[in-house]
């Protein structure tokens, strides 16, 4: 019983204090997010607010400038020392500041150490080289928690706005190439799974077709089951219906709802407010590189607090 509760609550992906810049353009400005097992997190926000960038940081298609991404207990990014007070305390800068403060007559105790560490974080005082002890501590932390990114990605499914089916492969090959190449399944197992998935979406007859012959809705549903063929723990969707003709949006949303009902953990960037209301367990409003509001669907739509969100909702809910 208790064990059950722990797994139900367990965190699949965590992002901590994430920053991302493209050259001078700062797109993410300190995003924190935890995605729990079974959650359906819907991300909305105006164009250019950094939704896609945030989503793509979850599986490191985009490399964050600062901050950390965790997949379960595994670190996917390099260590960000500012997120670890014990690391900061080993830096030369910290030691120097401590000495200065002690020389000024202050007493050494926890509070002083905390205060200095806080100051270093606030003002980003760490330098490129902070001494051997610091370097060693980072290395240790990193080697304890790091996980090969490809291993993590194999467990994190992603669905793109423009489908991105492999054009040089048939539908069946699209579904089986990764499980076979990564030696997760034998060819027979992979084919069997692929046909089961194709049957599920009613496209068995397209197994040997090339993607260029499919409609947008068919492509996107195949892209979804391509991710499913890897048996992922979480699925990321970046505006999966935005590139579709209106009459094909329904079939894709239907498949996504089925997945949600089966308990799949999902993070969905979308403009489909109906889907958000119906499926989301939590909705996030991103604006200007930050999560500016976060709530369950009911409160999110009924009692928005943030001014920009109110404005945004009044525009999209018309």
């Amino acid at each position: 019983m208790q064990e059950n509760k722990i797994t139900a609550d367990s965190t699949v992906i965590t992002i901590k204090d994430l920053y991302k810049s493209f050259g001078r353009l700062e797109v993410l400005k300190g995003v924190n997010l935890e995605i729990k097992k079974g959650e359906k997190v819907v991300v909305i926000g105006p164009s250019g607010s950094g939704k896609s960038t945030m989503l793509r940081c979850l599986n490191l298609l985009e490399e964050p400038t600062c901050g950390e991404v965790w997949f379960h207990e595994n670190l996917l990014t390099p260590v960000d020392p500012y997120l670890h007070s014990d690391l900061i305390e080993r830096s030369n800068t910290f030691q120097k500041m401590l000495c200065e403060r002690l020389a000024q007559g202050e007493e050494e105790h926890e509070a002083l150490r905390d205060q200095i560490a806080f100051e270093i974080k606030e003002k980003s005082l760490l330098k490129k080289h902070e001494g051997k002890a610091f370097k060693k501590a980072i290395k240790e932390l990193y080697s304890t928690y790091t996980l090969n990114i490809n291993k993590a990605r194999a467990k994190i499914g992603m669905v793109f706005q423009h489908f991105n089916l492999f054009n040089n492969l048939t539908v069946l090959q699209n579904l089986t190439v990764a499980p076979i190449q990564l030696k997760l399944k034998t060819k027979e197992q992979a084919n069997e799974k692929a046909f089961a998935l194709l049957k599920r979406i009613g496209l068995e007859d397209k197994a040997n077709a090339y993607p260029s012959t499919l409609s947008g809705g068919q492509k996107q549903r195949i892209a979804i089951i391509r991710a499913l063929a890897m048996e992922p723990e979480v699925m990321l969707f970046d505006e999966p219906t935005s590139a579709l003709d209106p009459e094909m949006v329904g079939e894709v949303l239907e498949l996504m709802k089925d997945l949600a009902d089966e308990g799949m953990t999902m993070v969905v960037v979308t403009h489909e407010m109906g889907f958000a209301k119906e499926v989301a367990s939590r909705i996030i409003f991103m604006n200007d590189g930050l999560i500016q509001e976060e709530n369950d669907p009911e409160n999110f739509f009924e009692n928005p607090k943030n001014e920009r969100l109110k404005e945004f909702l009044s525009k999209v809910l018309k």
Binding site: L61, I156, M158, F163, Y210, M230
Partner: protein, 229 residues
């Protein structure tokens, strides 16, 4: 005129030399292209790989230099330099045909790497991202997904590269490899009859080039129907 040529070519078995020349030209062109394609692809990947460690940066610089040098000097000069200076200095004693294949491979690698780079860039970035998102590494995605599509895009250009490679092999007579040109030259010089042998030589090259361009067209069509099936 004809009589001397026929006598030399058939009765004195000059055609044997011609066949050797033809097969050498073919071998050198095919292996040259193969080496050029493999090495050129590796160079293209190195130039495009988005990694910034010192090792890769140095490798990128070496590739840049390689391409600049091989594209910036005539093949004849490369041939003379490698055959008479560099290979002997390295103590490499290779069979003529092998050596010529390597030299032409090194040369065409420089051109093919640029062609390949353009081809890879012409493939939608989403293909790489989809591959990476499934847990493929960069190289695996390149080999399984991106390069096959790039190859399809550059097939016509690659065909042209093969054709110019075949034509360029005619400079091999400078280092005494019996290629097609050399074999007809031998006939011409032994009979003091130049007109017919050299016309025949021109016709030979023309036919080969024509056949190859047909082959390239055929492959192109096959690739396209494949993808549309």
């Amino acid at each position: 005129m004809w009589n001397t040529f026929i006598e030399k070519f058939i009765i004195e078995e000059g055609y044997k030399l011609t066949l050797t020349g033809l097969s050498n030209t073919a071998l050198i062109a095919v292996f040259g292209l193969l080496i050029g394609f493999l090495l050129g692809t590796v160079i293209a990947i190195v130039k495009l790989v988005p990694v910034k460690n010192i090792f890769v940066t140095v490798l990128k610089k070496i590739c840049d230099g390689y391409v600049a040098v091989f594209r910036g000097t005539p093949i004849v000069v490369q041939l003379l330099l490698l055959h008479f200076a560099v290979f002997p200095a390295l103590g490499l004693l290779l069979e003529d045909v092998v050596e010529a294949s390597i030299i032409f491979g090194l040369n065409s690698a420089a051109y093919i790497s640029e062609i390949m780079r353009g081809g890879i860039n012409s493939v939608d970035k989403g293909q790489m991202e989809a591959g990476r998102s499934l847990g493929f590494g960069y190289t695996r995605t390149m080999i399984k997904i991106v390069i096959p599509q790039a190859f399809k895009n550059i097939l016509p250009t690659l065909g042209n590269e093969f054709i110019s490679l075949i034509k360029e092999t005619s400079v091999l007579s400078l280092i005494a490899v019996t290629d097609l040109t050399k074999s007809f030259k031998a006939i011409a010089e032994s009979t003091y009859e130049y007109f017919i042998p050299y016309i025949m030589l021109a016709i030979c090259y023309f036919v080969i080039v024509y056949l190859i361009s047909l082959l390239v067209k055929f492959m192109e069509r096959r690739f396209n129907t494949d993808a549309r099936k």
